[in-house]
């Protein structure tokens, strides 16, 4: 009664006018007072549906009740029982489609309990607390068994954490010069600060995880080399790094690039900041093609890089956009233009081969198909030319082919994903497990993390026999 009458907390955030001038995190996090009040909204349901919405079934009422009691560290501990990266998931999970979509409040036609905000609050509280009063790290007793991880994104990190805690000697190999995968090179600072990711990595280091950067498994080290080095189990978490293009005329002009290139130059290489050598093209009129999180991150980055007009070009309607609802809302506040039901069909260039315009085909939603979805159809003749000087293509990624190409015996699907047993995450090779985007295609942080944990569990069982 009183609980359900309390309005949902509003996340404090930076002013749109200020935040487009910098890279600071937009969401400022709940204060302890706000968290206590929000936590009191949770009804501690006997059959909590929210947990069914979470892909890894975090004990949601369990951690929230700890927040309500003011036991913030205890709340963080409950989260860590299931999720290796709550500070990350609290920020980037599509809560409105997962945990929060099943909260009982929806049935009462009221906004769901802010599970994501509370998760972030508890995890951030713990991080700050531990940085002020370091707790002694007890290294688990070693069982002497070596395992290798390929890729340092959320799947690889969560696997490494679970295995090191079980006593394994864990080495994580990363192709890039920084640890963290998409969390570092993809998702921008204004949404997920590097310091949050760095704290998790430092935690793993303290537990004894060994990180080797600048090492491409399949190139620097072969599958056989890994055996020679004594690894008894290998977890491949190499992600879905390969950017897709649309194959339309003019896509190779200067100023048309993938969101991976754009975000990597800026997030990983620091392009545009003083003291950094990597260049990046700046546009005055920037079009980002796509409607997912990557597209939102790119278009909001373009705005922060000084674009006067930054627009989303998406072939379906806003309701169909795969991006998190909060990102779309934030983008709108930041003055991003949305061109929905539009599809680029050609790019045009100036005499130096630099893109100067795009041709857009207007779309409409057709009759529902067998799946019941109304698919976009071109409106005959509705093509227009729009001036742009930078185009970021963000229409999806394919699985990184490096590992499948390097290990010929590995079973791979038609889409290029590594085939694994759903229950064990084990591939067609008995000592090789895989998870995250290399198995699912482009998915989410929480699913990647869950895969890492499942693989750790089943590899541990196999190695304990």
């Amino acid at each position: 009664k009183e609980r359900t009458a309390t309005p949902r907390v509003v996340m404090p955030q930076l002013e749109p006018g200020y935040r487009v001038t910098c890279n600071e995190e937009v969401n400022q996090g709940l204060s302890a007072e706000q968290a206590l009040i929000e936590a009191s909204r949770c009804l501690d349901c006997p059959d909590p549906q929210c947990m069914q919405g979470c892909p890894v079934a975090v004990d949601i009422p369990g951690f929230i009740k700890n927040v309500e009691r003011g036991e913030f560290l205890e709340a963080a501990a409950v989260l860590k029982n299931t999720s290796a990266l709550p500070a990350v998931c609290g920020r980037v999970c599509p809560q409105e489609k997962q945990c929060e979509s099943r909260c009982i409040y929806n049935k009462m036609k009221k906004p769901a309990v802010a599970i994501g905000y509370l998760e972030r609050f508890a995890a951030d509280y713990e991080r700050v607390e531990h940085s002020r009063h370091p707790v002694e790290v007890v290294r688990p007793e070693s069982n002497g068994i070596r395992v290798a991880v390929v890729g340092s994104g959320p799947a690889g990190l969560s696997f490494a954490g679970d295995m090191v805690k079980r006593g394994y000697d864990v080495t994580v190999y990363e192709a890039l010069h920084e640890i963290g995968g998409v969390l570092k090179y993809g998702i921008p600072e204004f949404r997920l600060p590097n310091s949050v990711v760095e704290a998790e990595i430092d935690g793993l280091r303290a537990l004894g995880v060994n990180f080797v950067k600048d090492c491409v498994v399949g190139k620097t080290l072969s599958y056989d080399d890994l055996h020679t080095l004594g690894y008894k189990g290998i977890f491949v978490a190499s992600g879905a790094g390969l950017p897709r293009f649309m194959g339309i005329p003019g896509e190779n002009y200067i100023g048309v690039m993938s969101s991976n290139e754009y975000l990597t130059r800026i997030n990983l290489m620091g392009a545009g900041r003083p003291g950094e050598d990597t260049p990046v093209l700046k546009g005055r009129r920037v079009a980002v093609i796509g409607g997912g999180n990557t597209a939102m991150d790119s278009v909001r980055t373009a705005r922060r890089q000084g674009a006067e007009v930054a627009m989303i070009v998406y072939r379906r309607g806003e309701a169909e956009m795969p991006a998190r609802v909060e990102e779309v809302a934030h983008a709108k506040e930041e003055g991003i233009m949305f061109m929905n039901l539009c599809n680029p069909v050609e790019y045009l260039s100036d005499e130096n081969g630099r893109v100067r315009a795009m041709k857009i085909q207007r779309m409409e939603l057709g009759e529902p198909d067998e799946s019941g979805r109304r698919s976009p159809q071109p409106i005959p003749g509705a093509v227009e030319e729009i001036p742009v000087d930078l185009v970021i293509v963000s229409v999806g990624v394919s699985p990184n082919p490096l590992i499948p190409n390097a290990i010929s015996q590995l079973e791979v699907s038609r889409r290029g994903t590594i085939v694994v047993d759903d229950a064990t995450m084990r591939s067609s090779l008995s000592d090789l497990y895989a998870g995250g985007d290399i198995v699912r295609g482009g998915a989410t942080v929480i699913l990647a993390m869950g895969d890492g944990r499942h693989a750790a569990q089943s590899m541990h069982e196999a190695l304990s026999k």
Partner: protein, 266 residues
């Protein structure tokens, strides 16, 4: 961090570095390259592995100073370190006994060509190498190339060494005098384009190694894309070597200028 073991100047702007990189030395094959970064704010740039010593655990890089990053790398001294070296990347050269192979290197392109010349010779081919540059100063690695070639032809634009003329004249003279089974061309894009046009006339299979702009070198960004036979390819994972008769060199040369404006502003 990868320590620089030794350094040698080939000319004012071309430097040879021997760098500690044991895992890479162990895995590399001719045609492979590395991505290196010098300094914490450094850019990731691709460089071919010109040679490797598995026993000492070193690789050899030959770098021509052309801009910010290559300048930084050429300024390093023995004892200094490269901040990052990752590789070996790309597909290794397909080495086979085909008969007579003409290997054309333009400028610093001779560096990536050297391991291929060596491997082609070891596979039992007759190797004719053509080294081309603007002037005698810029002819590099002539002795090393001669060691593994049946014949070396030097061409300079100004005639200050070898014959006066362009690399294409050299290629044409060999094709006209004997049966050539394969041409390998590595150098500036414009040189590879004209070698390809020349050999196309004679229908001699030709392979080139493309030096597009790269960032990660692992297929993740698409900065390195080129059109080959009408299809978009990523040089870092599908290449760097391609059938020169199928490469859209004009598009590649255009894309190489992507950042020239941005970099000049610095």
């Amino acid at each position: 961090m990868n320590k620089i073991v030794s350094k040698e100047h080939f000319s004012e702007h071309v430097v040879k570095l021997v760098v500690e990189a044991p895992m890479i030395a162990h895995s590399r094959r001719p045609g492979h390259f590395v991505i290196v970064r010098a300094g914490e704010g450094g850019e990731r740039i691709p460089l071919t592995i010109a040679d490797a010593d598995t026993e000492r655990g070193t690789i050899t890089l030959i770098i021509q100073e052309v801009g910010v990053s290559t300048k930084k790398i050429c300024a390093l001294e023995p004892g200094d370190s490269l901040t990052d070296v990752v590789g070996p990347l790309g597909q290794a050269t397909h080495i086979e006994k085909v008969g007579t192979v003409v290997c054309c290197g333009g400028g610093v392109g001779v560096a990536p060509l050297l391991p291929i010349i060596k491997a082609m010779k070891e596979a039992g081919n007759r190797v004719v190498s053509i080294l081309a540059a603007r002037n005698s100063e810029l002819i590099i690695l002539e002795e090393e190339v001669a060691k593994y070639s049946d014949e070396v032809i030097v061409m300079t634009d100004d005639g200050s060494a070898g014959r006066k003329g362009l690399v294409t004249a050299g290629v044409e003279s060999v094709i006209e005098r004997e049966k050539v089974d394969l041409v390998v061309a590595i150098g500036p894009a414009v040189m590879m384009k004209f070698v390809a046009l020349t050999t196309k006339k004679y229908d001699v299979p030709t392979m080139c190694s493309l030096n597009t702009i790269m960032v990660d070198g692992t297929g993740m960004c698409g900065a390195c894309r080129v059109t080959v036979d009408g299809k978009t390819k990523f040089v870092c994972i599908d290449g760097p070597e391609f059938d020169a008769h199928k490469v859209d060199f004009d598009e590649m040369m255009m894309r190489l200028k992507s950042y020239s404006f941005e970099t000049q502003k610095k």
